[in-house]
């Protein structure tokens, strides 16, 4: 087992990419950001390192815990070790405390700041291009160095699942999660609604009674919120009639298929959405199931790489972390080879065991950590969405 990779050393860990990130603190500054990035990207645009802009349709008309969560996401995605430097672009009167965003990120890396209300769009774009060039020059000076795999923090996600996900691709990813945790690294699983019905089994893996209670509470609160705000009894409605025709019997079976990608290691804690863990190990994060919101939260929580299993196929990627997409459905792989990185249909036709397949996946993970671009990076697909938890005012 390879237990090192060549990454970018940062103050708070090792990155597998070397990006310059532009963060609009509110939707009102997104258009200005797009303009400066389209002009500046010619300076720095490799798969390994380039200028990336976050999508942020929020940042104003928000309050309380919802505003805190959006602010935390913007700060923590900027701190991700895959990012070399950050440019924060504010409007000037939004709900998000843009000074706090810039100050917090600057504790661990180079940050530049612009406010549209100080100088108008044209000057902000010109100044932004100049600053992005400067941040890119600083990033280009960085070289890859040998880093232990304990520096990997891997987000685990499934989306567009089919019957192959629960029996092959998720168990393969679960074995990898166990390897990473055993070697001292970190893995994070989100999508809380997928735990409903099997939360008691996952909770058995908690390192303490406190964490066990937190796991159960997090799942039950999510379930109650769905009931209260959407009028849906998730537990009562799952598995769906389609799931049952496909061979699933109980909600335990359905949820276990999804949770299987977290392997069997101890659960070290429960994280708030976009919260960075203060130690290494396996963690549960309070994210919804929605692919893009879930992955965005885990990458803001420090994940420098994403393992994404799919049955039906999805092109999804992330601006900060490479997303490795995995399927055990051979037809899906053949049709969508331009967006899927790893085929483990061999597990389903008996040519390979789950363990052997996970060892082959591990080799790809190390290659990607060393700089090999994923299909989503080649397609330049940079999906990012923040999970909102309150009403817009």
């Amino acid at each position: 087992m390879i237990d090192y990779f060549f990454g970018y050393e940062r103050e708070n860990g090792c990155g597998v990419r070397n990006h310059v990130l532009v963060i609009p603190t509110v939707s009102c500054s997104e258009f200005t950001v797009k303009k400066m990035v389209s002009e500046a990207s010619q300076y720095f645009s490799s798969y390994d390192g380039g200028i990336k802009a976050l999508n942020n349709p929020y940042g104003c008309g928000q309050t309380g815990k919802d505003l805190d969560q959006t602010t935390r996401t913007l700060i923590n995605i900027g701190k991700n070790p895959n990012v070399s430097g950050v440019l924060v672009v504010a409007l000037g009167c939004e709900s998000v405390n843009y000074d706090k965003v810039a100050d917090e990120i600057s504790k661990v890396k180079n940050v530049e700041f612009l406010k549209i209300q100080d100088q108008g769009v044209t000057k902000t774009v010109d100044e932004g291009v100049r600053l992005l060039k400067k941040l890119s020059d600083e990033a280009k000076k960085m070289n890859r160095k040998k880093c232990g795999v304990e520096n990997l923090s891997i987000a685990l996600k499934c989306g567009g699942s089919d019957f192959t996900s629960g029996i092959a691709s998720n168990p393969v990813v679960g074995k990898v999660s166990d390897m990473v945790v055993n070697m001292g690294g970190t893995t994070i699983i989100g999508e809380i609604p997928e735990f409903i019905g099997a939360e008691h089994l996952y909770a058995e893996r908690a390192i303490s009674q406190e964490v066990k209670t937190e796991i159960i509470d997090t799942v039950h609160k999510f379930e109650e919120k769905l009931k209260r705000e959407a009028g849906v009894d998730f537990r009562g409605a799952q598995p769906s009639p389609g799931n049952i025709t496909g061979g699933l019997t109980t909600i335990e079976e359905k949820s276990l298929g999804a949770i299987k990608k977290s392997g069997s290691s101890k659960v070290s804690g429960v994280l708030e959405y976009a919260q960075i863990p203060n130690k290494r190990g396996h963690f549960m994060m309070n994210t919804p199931g929605y692919d893009i919101e879930s992955v965005s939260g885990m990458v803001a929580g420090g994940a420098n790489l994403v393992l994404f299993t799919t049955g039906r196929g999805t092109p999804t990627g992330n601006p900060v972390a490479p997303v490795i997409k995995i399927t055990a459905n051979y037809e899906t792989y053949k049709i969508m080879e331009d967006m899927i990185d790893f085929d483990c249909s061999s597990v389903i036709d008996g040519r390979e065991t789950i363990l052997k397949s996970s060892e082959r996946l591990w080799e790809l993970i190390i290659d990607v950590a060393n700089g090999k671009p994923t299909k989503a990076e080649i397609n330049r697909q940079d999906d990012f969405l923040i999970y909102r938890i309150g009403p817009t005012y």
Partner: protein, 94 residues
């Protein structure tokens, strides 16, 4: 030969990867040791086959975990689905 995958060594069911007819032999894969089992009922693709006898009220185990309980005695080789098993934690199917 149709295959069925065993995900965890503790499992008492396997997921059948093709449509199995009564009396058809199925190859069990997923673990280091490969063996065969004979289907004693018709089992659609993606559904489960009992790889051991399961007592009435006993646990049905997949992923090494309890996914429900047997409503009746389930014989090795039988189709395991909502007609002979039920949830413990969620909606009661029967």
């Amino acid at each position: 030969m149709i295959k069925a995958i065993i995900i965890d060594g503790k499992d008492n069911v396997a997921t059948v990867l093709g449509n199995a007819e009564v009396g058809e032999d199925i190859q069990l894969i997923g673990q280091d040791e490969i063996s065969t089992i004979r289907a004693i009922s018709k089992i659609p693709r993606g559904h489960k086959i009992a790889i051991h006898d399961i007592e009435k009220g006993g646990p049905v185990i997949k992923y090494g975990e309890v996914i429900g309980k047997a409503l009746v005695f389930i014989k090795k080789g039988e189709h395991v689905h909502i007609h002979n098993m039920d949830s413990i934690r969620g909606k009661i199917l029967k």
